[in-house]
Every structure is written in structure tokens, then in C-alpha cells.
């Protein structure tokens, strides 16, 4: 297959070379573009020859010049202004005045396998373009979108440099299968599985290269992606060169300073010494001798003020009919945790030539990335709040590299010295990635209404990394090894071929327009990797074992798809899509799935009764229904009976030798797609010349054949649990988006964007059998108890805790819980007495952003509110007096302990489940632009504060906790950034 793919690719390139020399003859047209409001010259207006990629941009004095076909039609467009189409009719001078307004309707948005005018879109989608992106020292593309679109929840995993984020579109439609949306970059659906050593699968794209995100939310918009569309689709379009544009060089750079916003409030050395004195009955007088005299603030020892910088250079323009853009970016980001950082080099090239009288359009994109990450050791964050503050950082002890460590390395009660834990970590990776694709768009010469599209793409990443520790590290970190030497590598390949044809026809005699698309898609994903760990060997520490593992796994997706758009009277729009997907993950009988969708839209504004009503500038009703699937279940071979060889250390002595063992793996021969049916009603509106625009969407999504890892009957399969199609769940929600333009004058403007999301998730079925007493799927670990549950009738991952009893003063009484089972006796952490108490997902999410410009000055801010998200504060739950001093080891705890006064840890108390609703001012930016400075056509300087403000009642470090269990994650820093942007 691969060979055929390459042959095809080279054939196509050959064809391009042969035909590349051909070009059309044209005439030169000039003119001036002015603002209709005041007649001033407009700079930067885009002029395009209709139906081609030929175009130019108006110069600094408002004039333009373009060479086009004598019969051409020119399109003049400018952000915020109504576009105009003007036929030349032989003229060579065309002056145009552009008026404000109406821009959103003529906007073209990218959808699956095509584009659509936003006003003609039938599905629920939202487009976010670069001007609306979040500002600041942003290295992850996901962060550009935070809070910008209703129904899209993005949670960064923490403050580590280059770390990824989880994206949820309209809640999750799955439990055990992936809930990540499908992400498509310039037509290439990318693999959500990052190569080992990479913390963010989207880091390939430099945020500076992104032009727009289009988020497809309901099934009628996404179903054309069938089995991968259940969690929405995000289409990323990168910046391109424009036809006819002049050579432009742009530089964007910034320097930023980041520091921790707050630390966990733990006891000082003096306070610990006081506690030891007060609690002598508990700890015994011998505990005094184990206290030293220091007052070390361990958190201050591991965090720092981090300086980072970021540089981006892009060149764009057009050589004859070849528009191009090349960009390079360099990021050097340092983490606020010492010994963490990321250096990244990105490059991207796009070429968009046209051939054969513009009937063949070619689009070539190449993106490359090199990232060097230094992960340090985030475990030091937890250690820093637990380490005894009476101990110094350093101690004269060569065996521990002169760091203070507890005398007995073996005891796992001794908190490792956080500074050693962090600074001695050698945990680094090098990741390389390349995404390249070529898209050919060919208008059939004998049938110009028929356009063929071919997209060939490859996505390759490779990584190498290691995670070493010296022999001087304590065994509590390296156990069971003596020191640690670890190496790993990984390679991901993803190849794609899409071919589709689009036929569009105006049938004006019956006032109809049709557009039909039919296509085929083939995609192959392969991942492989190796991991090798061993201890350090020396005279007293012979070879112990190597923990080595390797894997290689692949899957294919083959699909046929089609779409029919029918427009009647330019008012009634119908879209029907269907996709037939085949996945190699399932057995032959279950392999193929058909995913249909239907959508209707009614442009009410164009009806006679509204046509002349000035106040209403847009009104459109959308109805959609569709079925999407899910096959990204983590395992590429879940239906196949196979055996697995154990790694070294898990051998058994058989017939005189140690042999690896062969284990039959659990499998479900009948496993199949998860199916999500979505219904959506939406209304798009615009008032007062679109000074107020927005949309409301109501949706219901029902997932059946939910893939769930359930406890299976003992004796029926090769494990105690199996991933199988057993359950169902539903999500219901409302999304509301509003855009206001209260001020829109030539030298002053104000834009306000607001969005609101409400989503309710409920599990409706979970087991093979229907046992009403089934407790649900429990989450947690042996040490801290099971505190979350997914149970029928409740949201997934609800907190599952004991009901705390309080004394008259409102303080929790240690170990006393309400006897909910009524069984009497001591109510301990047993599941029978627990109840469901809230869940980590917010009920409401709001995003509010504003942009204000006055002459050359601009100011923008974006903020978010999350309401009804609860967090289990494990940092607080871990604090108890009995853990503070144990057999010679002192430990520190957060000062929650002074409130609870718990002697033993009470992990299952609902006392630790907090309402973590919050308001965050994510960023605030002020900028000033200079024009025509000594050969620089545009310059802008800006100052940004990121993570400027958080308002919450949650007492922990940050109420925005991935997964809802707060357990010392890498804190998100506050960042101050100075940025400069220059355009030549």
C-alpha cells in the first residue's frame, strides 16, 4: 500500500511540473479603495479575482494594482466591512468605497471536505479567527481557544511548559473510549495519540501560524467524519500566502516573565515545632529529637521566576501565480518549577499555485517541529508540601550527594528531599514531527461544475527520551532499582489519502441550487515504541533486571462519504450526509458502520415579512439530526484472541529454566462502534446591521452501545473487566453565543463576545445485566480509597463519599459519618454508606471577551466563569496528625489540618469535596500600533498579563483541576509578556 501511495504522489508531482509552465494573459487594473463613511483611504483591503487564487492587497496610500483576465470580476473584502464584487466589463480603473457591516454573512468557513458560506451553513459550527485568539505567551494551540466558543471546554493540564490540554466539545460522549474531538489541520486529520516524550499532540503547530479554528459541534456538521466525529471536529486552517500579494516579512516576538501565583499554605518549621510540643501525647517526647532547627520553605526552593522568549518570522507573498508563505518560530519556555523547560523550533511552508487557467489548484503544506523538553520531576511539588520544614536543603553527606535525606533510605515514610528530587532528575525528550500534505483541486475542463479533490498527507513523529536518576537518589523514588537508567523512543506514522468530487449547479429555472460531494478516504495509523529501564550497576549492586517493553500497533480506516446540499429559493437549505466507515479495530462482521445526518435551515430573514424590517439583519433557524460513531478505544485489536509475552522480572521457573509467560488477553469478539445520535435546534440572529449577532443551540446527544470497561462475570473471560458495548449515556445542553459591537467608528471600536454553555451528562445504562443495586464503576486507589463513581442515573465520575457529621460549632467530627445504609455499627469508608455528591464537571460555563480600539491603541481581555464544578481536595484530605510524625519521620501538611484537627486521614469524607466555581480573567492585553515607521509598514507593541485574576471560594491553589481531584499538579503561572510585532 505504501508503495502505491508513493507512486501516486510522485506521479502527481510530475504532472504539476509538466503543466506548471502554462499561464494566462491578462490586463492591468488599478484604483483606489476608500471608506464609505468618510472617504479616507483604506489600507490592507484584499482584492481577489473571482474564481481564482489571484489577488492583491491595497497599499499604504489606498491604491492597488492587479493583473487579471479582461472579463474578470474583482472581489474587495476587508474585515468588518461588507465585501463587494465588481465586474470589470473592460474597465482598467476601478475605485471602490467599502461600507461597514455584514461581514459575518459573507464569511466562508471551512467544513468537512469543503467550504460553505457561513450564511448557508446548516449545522452548528463556530469559527474563531486569529483576531479573537487569546493573547499571551501561548505555546499550545489549544490555549488560543479557551473560553472562545460555546460548548467547547478546554482544560490545560497544568503549568508545565508545552503541556497539553483536554478539549471537550459538548461534554463527553464516551466513558472509556476517547472523548477528544477529531482535529484536522489543513485537511489532515491528526492522531490524538502523542508520541512518547511529547506532552501535547498539537505542539506541531505554532500558534502564530493559525488563521482560524472552525469547530463543528452537532452531528449534521460532523457526521461526514462518521466514526471519529462523536466528540466534535476542530478544523485548523493555517495562514497562507495570497495571490498577487507583495512580499511581506512579519516578525512577532515576545519576552515573558512567569511566576507562581500562590503556594500551598503549609506549616513553617517553627509551627511544626510548636505542633510537636502541643501534641506530645500523640507523638511522644522522642519525636522532639527528630526535629531540626531549620525553617526551610521547600516550595520556594523548587519554584522560580521563569523568563521565556518566543520569536516568529514569516515571509509571504506571491511569485507570479505562486502564493507562498514560509514561517519559522523559536520558543524557549522555562517553567516556574526549576529544571523544567521546553525549546521548540517550528517551521511551516505553504505553496498555493494554480495551473491550467486556474482549473488546477494546488495547495502544498509542510510543517515541521523540533522540541526539546526538560520535564524535571513534578513529584517534587507534592514532596515540597510534605517535606519536614525543620530540615535544611543541604547536609554534608556524600552518599546522598550532600543533600539532606532521611537516614534510612528504605523507609517509604520519609519524604524525599524535594530539591534533590527535582534537580537530580534527568528526564528529557527530543521530539521531531513533520506533517506534509498536497491537495489538488481540479475543475473538470469538460464539465466545469465538477471539481475533483485529492489530498495526500503524511504525519510522522519520532521521539527519544530518558528518565534517569543517580544512585544518590533515595530508594523511595527509584525503587525497586538502585538509581535508574531509562531510555525510550517512539515513532508514529499516519498516512492519508482523501479523494472526493464535488458537483455544483445553479438550477435557476426551479430556483434551486445543488451541490453534491462524494468521496473516499483511507487512513493508516501506526505507532511503535521501546522502553528500557534498569538500575545502576556497581560492585555492590549487581544486575537487577531490565524493565524493557516494546510495542507496535496500527489501525486502518477506510471510508466512503457523500453530501448533498440543496438550496431552494435561497431560503430553504437542506444538507444530507452519509459516511460508511470501515475500521480495522473490529471483527469483519462489525467492521462497517453507516453514519447519516440530515439538516434543514430556514433563512427567515429572507422571507417577505422580514425582508424590509431594518432592525433584524439576520434570522436563521437550523434543525439537525445525525449519527456519529466512536472507534478510538485505545486498543487496536480488541476483538482478536491473542497471547502476550511477559517482560523480564515476570518469568516463571518451568522445566529447569526461567521462561517468560504467555497470557491470553481478554477480548470481545463482538465489540463494535459506539453510536451517538445528536439532535440539534439552533437559531442564528443578527440585529441592527449585525451590531448584535449570535446564536442559540439546544441539543440532545444519546450514546448507545457505549464502550465501557465493566466488571464481567468471573470465569467468562481472561480478566475481571472487559471493554465492551454495554451502556448508554446522554448529554443535554444549551449553547448561547452573542457578539456585540457597541462602538464601530473609523477611529474607535468596541467588540464584545459572550458565550454560555450548559451541559448535563447522565449515565443511562452500564452493565450487561440490569442490576438496580449495581454500585457502578468505582475509581480510586488502594491507598486513598475509592472516591468517584460512574453510576446509572448520575453524571460520569461523580464523587462518591461519606456524609460528614459536624459538631455544634460546625467542625467535622473525625470519622463520624451518617449511617446511610442504616446497617448500624461503625460507619467507615465502606461503599454501602457512601453517597453521590456532585461531580467535577461544571453545569454552566461562560466566556466573556472584549476588544477595544482607539486610533492606534488597542485593549483586549478575555475571561471565563465556571459554575457548579466540584473538586475533591486530596491535598487537604491527605493531612492528618498521625501521618505527621511516624517512627522518626516528620512530615509537613497544609494548614487545612488546623481546621479539621483529624488525627487519622479521612479520605472518604464529603468535607473535602468543594464547590470550585470560579471566575478567571485569563488575559488582558494592551497594544499600540505604529504605521509607516522607516520602511516598516506596521509595528505593534503589546503588553499582556496572562492568568491575571481568579475569583473562587475554593481554598486550593487553583480551582481548575483536570479530572476534579486536586493532587498537587504543576501550578499555572501568572505571566507578564512584552510583545512586539513588525511587518515589512
Amino acid at each position: 500500500m505504501k508503495k502505491r501511495f508513493l507512486t501516486m504522489l510522485s506521479l502527481l508531482f510530475l504532472g504539476i511540473l509538466v503543466t506548471g509552465a502554462l499561464n494566462a494573459q491578462g490586463i492591468r487594473v488599478t484604483g483606489k479603495v476608500t471608506d464609505a463613511a468618510d472617504g479616507s483611504a483604506m489600507i490592507g483591503v484584499t482584492i481577489q479575482e473571482k474564481g481564482t487564487s489571484n489577488g492583491t492587497i491595497v497599499d499604504a496610500s489606498g491604491n492597488y494594482s492587479i493583473t487579471v483576465a479582461p472579463t474578470a470580476t474583482l472581489i474587495f473584502s476587508y474585515v468588518g466591512y461588507a465585501s463587494q464584487e465588481i465586474s470589470l466589463n473592460g474597465r482598467t480603473i476601478v475605485n471602490v468605497a467599502l461600507a461597514v457591516g455584514d461581514q459575518s454573512l459573507s464569511e466562508v468557513v471551512v467544513i468537512g471536505y469543503g467550504t460553505v458560506k457561513k450564511s448557508d451553513a446548516t449545522g452548528s459550527l463556530s469559527a474563531v479567527s486569529s483576531k479573537d485568539f487569546n493573547k499571551g505567551a501561548i505555546t499550545s494551540p489549544q490555549d488560543l481557544l479557551v473560553g472562545k466558543s460555546a460548548g467547547v471546554v478546554i482544560t490545560t493540564s497544568g503549568g508545565a511548559p508545552g503541556s497539553g490540554s483536554t478539549i471537550r466539545v459538548r461534554g463527553g460522549s464516551s466513558l472509556n473510549a476517547s472523548n477528544d474531538p477529531l482535529i484536522i489541520i489543513d485537511g489532515v486529520p491528526i492522531d490524538n495519540h502523542a508520541v512518547s516524550g511529547s506532552s501535547n499532540f498539537l505542539s506541531i503547530i505554532n500558534p502564530n501560524d493559525i488563521e482560524t479554528f472552525t469547530i463543528l459541534k452537532d452531528a449534521s456538521a460532523t457526521a461526514i467524519y462518521g466514526s471519529r466525529a462523536s466528540n466534535g471536529v476542530i478544523l485548523i486552517t493555517t495562514k497562507k500566502g495570497k495571490a498577487g500579494s507583495k512580499f511581506t516579512v512579519t516578525y512577532n516576538g515576545n519576552v515573558s516573565i512567569a511566576n507562581a501565583i500562590k503556594y500551598v499554605d503549609v506549616y513553617s518549621g517553627d509551627e511544626i515545632r510548636q505542633i510537636a510540643y502541643n501534641k506530645v501525647s500523640l507523638f511522644g517526647a522522642e519525636s522532639f529529637t527528630k526535629l531540626w532547627s531549620s525553617n526551610t520553605d521547600w516550595q520556594k526552593e523548587i519554584f522560580r521566576t521563569a523568563v521565556s522568549h518566543d520569536h516568529n518570522l514569516s515571509f509571504s507573498g506571491a511569485v507570479k501565480t505562486l502564493p507562498y508563505r514560509f514561517s519559522a518560530g523559536y520558543t524557549d519556555q522555562n517553567g516556574i518549577l526549576k529544571n523544567t523547560g521546553m525549546k521548540r523550533l517550528t517551521g511551516s511552508l505553504s505553496l498555493d499555485p494554480s495551473f491550467l487557467d486556474n482549473s488546477l489548484k494546488v495547495n502544498v503544506n509542510v510543517k515541521g517541529m523540533l522540541t526539546k523538553s526538560n520535564f524535571g520531576e513534578e513529584g517534587a511539588i507534592g514532596s515540597a508540601s510534605n517535606m519536614d520544614p525543620t530540615k535544611p536543603v543541604n547536609d554534608v553527606k556524600p552518599a546522598s550527594d550532600n543533600y539532606f535525606q532521611w537516614i534510612n533510605y528504605g523507609a517509604n515514610l520519609g519524604t524525599p528531599n524535594p530539591v534533590e528530587q527535582l534537580m537530580a532528575a534527568d528526564k528529557k525528550s527530543d521530539v521531531k514531527r513533520l506533517i506534509g500534505n498536497i491537495q489538488l483541486n481540479y475543475k473538470m475542463p469538460f464539465l466545469p461544475d465538477l471539481v475533483a479533490n485529492l489530498n495526500l498527507a503524511t504525519d510522522y513523529s519520532s521521539s527519544e527520551g530518558h528518565n534517569n536518576r543517580p544512585a544518590t537518589s533515595p530508594s523511595v523514588i527509584t525503587s525497586p532499582l538502585y538509581g535508574r537508567l531509562n531510555n525510550y523512543d517512539g515513532k508514529n506514522y499516519n498516512n492519508l489519502l482523501d479523494f472526493y468530487m464535488t458537483y455544483s449547479k445553479d438550477l435557476s429555472q426551479i430556483k434551486s441550487k445543488i451541490e453534491a460531494t462524494a468521496g473516499y478516504s483511507w487512513q493508516h495509523f501506526q505507532r511503535k515504541g521501546n522502553n528500557y529501564t534498569r538500575g545502576i550497576e556497581d560492585a555492590t549492586h549487581p544486575y537487577q533486571k531490565s524493565d524493557s517493553s516494546s510495542f507496535i500497533t496500527e489501525n486502518y480506516l477506510v471510508s466512503f462519504f457523500g453530501r448533498l446540499n440543496y438550496t431552494l429559493n435561497n431560503k430553504y437549505l437542506l444538507t444530507v450526509t452519509v459516511r460508511d466507515d470501515g475500521s480495522s479495530r473490529f471483527a469483519k462482521e462489525n467492521r462497517w458502520g453507516i453514519f447519516p445526518s440530515v439538516a434543514l435551515a430556514w433563512k427567515i430573514k429572507d422571507e417577505a415579512f422580514l425582508k424590509n424590517l431594518k432592525a433584524v439583519s439576520d434570522l436563521k433557524l437550523r434543525l439537525g439530526w445525525g449519527v456519529t460513531g466512536q472507534q478510538d478505544i485505545g486498543n487496536d485489536y480488541p476483538a482478536q484472541a491473542k497471547y502476550r509475552i511477559s517482560s523480564e522480572g515476570s518469568y516463571y521457573f518451568i522445566d529447569g529454566e526461567y521462561l517468560p509467560t504467555l497470557r491470553p488477553d481478554a477480548y470481545d469478539p463482538d465489540i463494535k462502534w459506539e453510536e451517538t445520535t445528536t439532535q440539534n435546534i439552533g437559531l442564528d440572529f443578527g440585529f441592527i446591521k449585525d451590531r448584535i449577532t449570535g446564536s442559540v443551540d439546544l441539543y440532545k446527544r444519546v450514546t448507545k452501545d457505549l464502550l465501557n470497561t465493566v466488571t464481567i462475570p468471573s470465569g467468562s473471560n481472561f480478566s475481571n473487566t472487559l471493554l465492551t458495548n454495554v451502556g448508554s449515556l446522554e448529554n443535554k445542553g444549551i449553547e448561547f453565543a452573542l457578539n456585540l459591537i457597541p462602538i464601530s467608528k473609523a477611529d474607535m471600536s468596541l467588540n464584545i463576545g459572550f458565550n454560555l454553555t450548559y451541559n448535563k451528562n447522565k449515565i443511562t445504562k452500564l452493565l450487561l445485566s440490569d442490576d438496580p443495586n449495581y454500585i457502578g464503576v468505582l475509581y480510586g486507589d488502594a491507598f486513598t480509597g475509592q472516591k468517584q463513581v460512574t453510576r446509572v442515573g448520575y453524571p460520569a465520575y461523580s464523587f462518591f463519599v461519606n456524609k460528614q457529621v459536624y459538631d455544634v460549632e460546625g467542625n467535622p467530627i473525625e470519622g463520624l459519618y451518617v449511617d446511610l445504609s442504616g446497617a448500624g455499627g461503625v460507619v467507615n469508608g465502606d461503599n454501602a454508606d457512601k453517597y453521590i455528591f456532585h461531580n467535577p464537571v461544571p453545569d454552566y460555563l461562560m466566556g466573556l471577551s472584549a476588544r477595544f480600539t482607539y486610533k492606534s491603541f488597542d485593549l483586549s481581555a478575555s475571561s471565563r466563569a465556571s459554575i457548579g464544578n466540584y473538586v475533591y481536595n486530596q491535598v487537604a484530605a491527605g493531612a492528618s496528625y498521625d501521618q505527621m510524625y511516624q517512627i522518626g519521620y516528620w512530615k509537613n501538611f497544609p494548614k487545612y489540618l488546623s481546621e479539621t484537627q483529624f488525627v487519622k486521614r479521612q479520605f472518604t469524607s464529603d468535607y473535602f469535596v468543594y464547590n470550585a466555581s470560579f471566575f478567571k480573567l485569563d488575559n488582558i492585553t494592551a497594544g499600540y500600533s505604529f504605521e509607516n515607521l522607516k520602511g516598516i509598514s506596521n509595528a505593534r507593541i503589546s503588553f499582556t498579563v496572562q492568568n491575571a485574576l481568579t475569583a473562587t471560594k475554593y481554598p486550593g491553589i487553583d480551582p481548575e483541576v483536570p479530572g476534579g481531584v486536586d493532587n498537587n499538579f504543576y501550578p499555572r503561572p501568572r505571566t507578564y509578556m512584552l510583545g512586539i510585532s513588525l511587518t515589512y
Binding site: M1, R4, L356, G410, A411, N412, M444, S475, T478, S479, P480, Y520, W522, Q544, S549, S550, F551, I552, E554, Y556, V558, G582, S584, K588, D636, Y637, K642, I645, S646, S647, E648, G649, S650, Y652, I654, T661, L662, P664, D665, P669, D670, T711, I712, S714, G715, S716, N717, F718, N720, S769, D771, Y774, D781, A782, F783, V826, D830, N831, A832, R905
Partner: protein, 545 residues
């Protein structure tokens, strides 16, 4: 020209689509994965698949290459032998665990519920070992290769052993054999009435073991794999407890199989009792007492499981440092398990040792005790002040060790993992089972020789010998405690002697009180886990749960 390109394109596309649909037929490329149909390709695969059944009783899974066999909150915690040890020991006078992990306190005080994670994991793992065995038996049933026929018999033995544990702990488990497939179905119990199901399971195990007797290897021929000796020992053990399982005692049958073991000539008691609990305790390490054990090795069979778990959980940083006592230096001294005072009183004859005085703190290791089976150490206090007191209180136990019997380190020494095998059947057990069978049939006089055989080894001479008149039911129970403590037998013995529940024998913190209180006799059987009852509508819960 354009038309040509178009046509070529169409033809190419059609060809590609046809071939690409075939791409969907994938098989794993991973060299660590072997398709079920290919197990016959290399004779070593059969040995490795057999090895899996053994390994499933002791370690957590496939290591870095495939992970744990079951999903549980922790891989090592919820391995078969470790969970079995908890269910058989910390529910009794022999041990109490100081850890706060979910489920531990319930076992310490006999207040467990069907959601206890240890009994859930043990139940699931035993069934899983049975399923692995069923798969292997089906695969090898038709073979005429003598080695493979022997492996087939070993797999059947391991299945019978897993059913024995099921019968002992849970009574009436779901029953599957190699005739059942694998997929999504609801296995049934042998009988919906728990007591009847247990009797039917007893009959099945006995019949299966009788059939296997001649198919297994000769005694001592294939350690640590199961042989005839292991089969006889399991039969003896099943018959020993027949009254508990079926209501009818089978002392004669028990004796027959003890005789077979003792008279086989393959086994002899180790001169040094400690040899059985040291890194060189295997039959192939010149310990002819070890009939059957789960093999553990510092390099090849690793995990915080089995004997490593016993050693580390019984060690602490103050009284029994694993670094000093056992040679383990990495992630040591978990300070969890230790004995209760009643257990110390059984092991140490304090009156004979110290006279009519309190045990002197000057002898923390009970060195004056003549019985050399006492590997105990005093801690902060011998009484445990609270059910959740730290491991510093109670009676420290260091019977198992990662060092060799001579105190040196073994060849495959590892800083974190012991090489010590976990004993399932020792020859000493054959003597004590036979003694008990004889005591219950022909009387104390016929049992005294077997008991003294064990006591002579314990004392190193005949000073500890007893007379027929000293032998009572209580004496036999106590002697088993002295011989087999911390070998995961205690609960079974207490149940057989009617001392586990119902107040006939109480120990500190039994039932949750300091002095120890009555518990209900339905606790003699563990419940079927709640997870199983929810997942399988065919399963009937045990009485009173």
C-alpha cells in the same frame, strides 16, 4: 490530455479503493503478541502458557509488557497470594495490619462486606487462574506428547487448587471447565443452594485429583511445578476439612494421602526449620521438605507480592529493619503486619520460659524460648492500644526472610525482591494432618509420634516432646499455629476447629473491641463479592450476606 489524466485517475482510484478495503484485515505486528491460532508454532509457547497459570497465583501479571492480569486499585496489593494471606491471617489472632487502606480494617476486625477489595480481587483472580487453566487444558487435551500430557495434568491440578481455595473461602463459586468458551456469558454455580453447591464442588475436586494422581510427575521430579506429592497433599488437605465443606468428616481418606506423601521417600524434614522460609527454601535448593510452593526470584519472578510482601509488611524502621533482618534495602519496612498477643501466648510457652513472671523486656527476641520456631520480636508494647494503632505495637514477626538459611545473600539477590518461595505444602503438614486424622479416629496415642517428629525438629532435640495425654484438640490447633504461622493457613484451621467466629475463642480487636468479641458464624465463609453479584445474575450470595 486532461481527459486522459481524469481516466487514469479514475482507474487508479478504483484499484486503490479495492486494495485499501483489504487493509482492514490486520493482525498484530508486535513480536510480543502471539495470535491464539499460532500457539502451536513453537513448542516453547506451550511451556510459557503453562508458566502463566502458575505465575497467576503469585505475581501481578506480565510486567511492563501488558501489565496486571486484573484491573484493581493496585497491582501488587491484589495478587492472589497476597490477598489470600490477608484473608487467612489478618482476620485471625496471628496478624493485624496497621495500614489505613480501604478494606484492611474490615478484615482486622471481621467486619467485612461484599465490597471488600481484597476478597473481591482474590475471588476474581482465582476464577481467572481457572479460566487460564481451562484455556490451556482445552489447547492440550488432544496431545499425545508425554511432556504436554504432563503439563495438561499440571494445569488441571492448578485448576483444582484454585477451586479448593474458592471452596474454602467462598463456598460456591461459578463453575467453568475447559468445555466452556470465552466471551460474554454468565457462568453458573454447581448448585444455586450454597451448601449443596459446595458439596458438589468438593466431589468435583476430589474426583479430579484422583484422576490426576497418575498423570502428574513423580514426587520431587519437577519442583516448583506440581507433581504427585502436591496432588496427594491437596487431597489430604481437602479431606482434612471435609466436615467443613460437606458436613461429613473424611479422616481416613486424609490419612491415606498423608501416608502416600510420607512414604514416597522423596521428602524429608529440613533440619533447620528456618530453611523453609529462607531464600534457599525450594526443593531444588536442597530443601526436601518443600513439596509445593509458588516460586519467587529476585531477578526473574518479582513483585511486592508473596514472601516479599510478608517480609516487608512485617518489617519496620525501628524494631525489625528489613535491611538488617532480611537483606532487603530498597523501599523497605512497610510497618503493617504484626501478631496479636494471644498469638504470642500460643507460640511462646511463657510459663515454661520465664516462670511466673511477665515476659522480660530484656529478651525482646524471646531468645530464651526453647522452641526454635519462634521468630518474634517485642515492639513498643505487646498489646495493641487501638484497632488502628501503628505497626509499632504488637508482636513483630520475622519468620520469612530474603536471606539464605545460613544468613548469606542468594545468587539472584535483589535489593527489593525476595528469592524466597511461598510454601503451599510442606512435609511437616503431612505429619500434622496425619496426626489430626489419627487423633480423630484412633486417638491421641496414635497421633503422638507424628507430633513429636515435628517438635523434635522444632526444639532440636526431644526436650519438647509431648505425651499422648498432652494431646487435645486445642493442642493440635496450637501446634499447627506454632508450625504454620504466617503461611496463610490460620483461618482454615480456626474454622475447622470452630474457633474462628461465634465467641469460642476471642482475640484482641476481633469484632472491633480491645478484648475481642463475638462475631457471627456466617463469617466463616466470605461473601461472594458485590461486583460479581451485580455482573452475573446467576450467582447466589452466601447466607446472611
Amino acid at each position: 490530455m486532461n481527459k486522459k489524466i481524469f481516466i487514469v485517475g479514475i482507474v487508479l482510484s478504483t484499484l486503490m479503493i479495492a486494495s485499501c478495503v483489504k487493509d482492514l484485515d490486520v493482525t498484530p505486528k508486535d513480536p510480543n503478541t502471539i495470535m491464539a491460532g499460532n500457539l502451536g508454532n513453537d513448542p516453547i509457547y506451550i511451556k510459557e502458557a503453562l508458566g502463566k497459570i502458575y505465575a497467576s497465583f503469585i505475581i501481578s501479571g506480565q510486567g511492563a509488557n501488558g501489565g496486571d492480569d486484573i484491573s484493581a486499585p493496585d497491582g501488587n496489593f491484589f495478587t492472589t497470594t497476597r490477598a489470600l494471606w490477608n484473608l487467612q491471617e489478618i482476620t485471625t489472632d496471628e496478624a493485624i495490619c496497621a495500614w489505613g487502606d480501604a478494606g484492611i480494617a474490615d478484615l482486622n476486625t471481621q467486619t467485612w462486606s461484599p465490597s471488600n477489595p481484597f476478597l473481591t480481587a482474590l475471588y476474581q483472580r482465582l476464577s481467572l487462574s481457572i479460566t487460564y487453566a481451562n484455556d490451556f487444558i482445552k489447547l492440550t487435551n488432544s496431545s499425545s506428547d508425554p511432556d504436554i500430557m504432563r503439563y495438561n495434568a499440571e494445569a488441571r491440578f492448578l485448576r483444582a487448587l484454585a477451586y479448593y481455595y474458592h471452596m474454602d473461602l467462598f463456598g460456591n463459586p461459578p463453575f467453568t471447565t475447559d468445555a466452556d468458551g470465552v466471551g460474554k456469558f454468565y457462568p453458573k454455580q454447581l448448585d444455586p443452594v450454597p451448601a449443596t453447591g459446595r458439596i458438589k464442588l468438593f466431589n468435583y475436586i476430589v474426583a479430579e485429583l484422583h484422576d490426576l494422581e497418575d498423570k502428574l510427575g513423580e514426587p520431587g521430579s519437577s519442583y516448583p511445578q506440581a507433581d504427585k506429592g502436591a496432588c496427594w497433599m491437596l487431597l489430604a488437605r481437602v479431606y482434612l476439612n471435609a466436615k467443613v465443606y460437606t458436613g461429613t468428616a473424611k479422616w481416613d481418606s486424609c490419612k491415606i494421602y498423608c501416608d502416600k506423601v510420607i512414604s514416597s521417600g522423596a521428602y524429608q524434614l529440613a533440619t533447620n526449620y528456618r530453611k523453609n522460609f529462607s531464600a534457599d527454601n525450594g526443593y531444588n535448593d536442597n530443601n526436601k521438605e518443600m513439596i509445593f510452593a509458588w516460586s519467587q526470584d529476585g531477578i526473574n519472578t518479582q513483585g511486592y507480592v508473596g514472601t516479599t510482601f510478608i517480609i516487608e509488611s512485617c518489617s519496620d524502621a525501628t524494631y525489625i529493619r528489613a535491611e538488617d533482618f532480611h537483606g532487603l534495602t530498597s523501599n523497605t519496612n512497610w510497618n503493617g503486619n504484626r501478631g496479636r498477643i494471644q498469638f504470642m501466648n500460643t507460640l511462646v510457652d511463657t510459663l515454661k520460659t520465664y516462670g511466673n513472671n511477665p515476659v522480660p523486656t530484656s529478651d525482646p527476641l524471646f531468645a530464651q524460648c526453647a522452641d526454635k520456631r519462634v521468630f518474634l520480636k517485642m515492639k513498643k508494647s505487646m498489646n495493641i492500644p487501638s484497632a488502628s494503632s501503628s505497626g509499632d505495637y504488637g508482636i513483630g514477626v520475622y519468620k520469612f526472610t530474603a536471606k539464605k538459611a545460613d544468613g548469606t545473600l542468594p545468587a539472584n539477590y535483589n535489593i527489593a525482591f525476595a528469592c524466597t518461595d511461598f510454601p503451599i505444602f510442606r512435609l511437616a503438614d503431612a505429619y500434622l494432618m496425619r496426626a489430626e486424622a489419627l487423633f480423630n479416629t484412633t486417638g491421641a496415642a496414635t497421633a503422638v509420634a507424628d507430633i513429636n517428629k515435628i517438635r523434635e525438629r522444632a526444639y532440636g532435640n526431644t526436650t519438647g516432646n509431648v505425651a499422648a495425654g498432652d494431646i487435645t484438640t486445642q493442642f493440635i490447633l496450637d501446634e499447627r499455629c506454632r508450625e504454620f504461622y504466617y503461611e496463610a493457613q490460620r483461618r482454615t484451621d480456626l474454622v475447622r476447629f470452630g474457633r474462628f467466629t461465634n465467641g469460642s475463642y476471642n482475640w484482641q480487636w476481633k469484632g472491633g473491641t480491645y478484648a475481642g468479641g463475638n462475631t457471627d458464624s456466617h463469617l466463616n465463609l466470605f461473601p461472594i463479592p458485590g461486583d460479581e453479584v451485580s455482573a452475573n445474575p446467576n450467582i447466589k450470595q452466601n447466607p446472611d450476606y
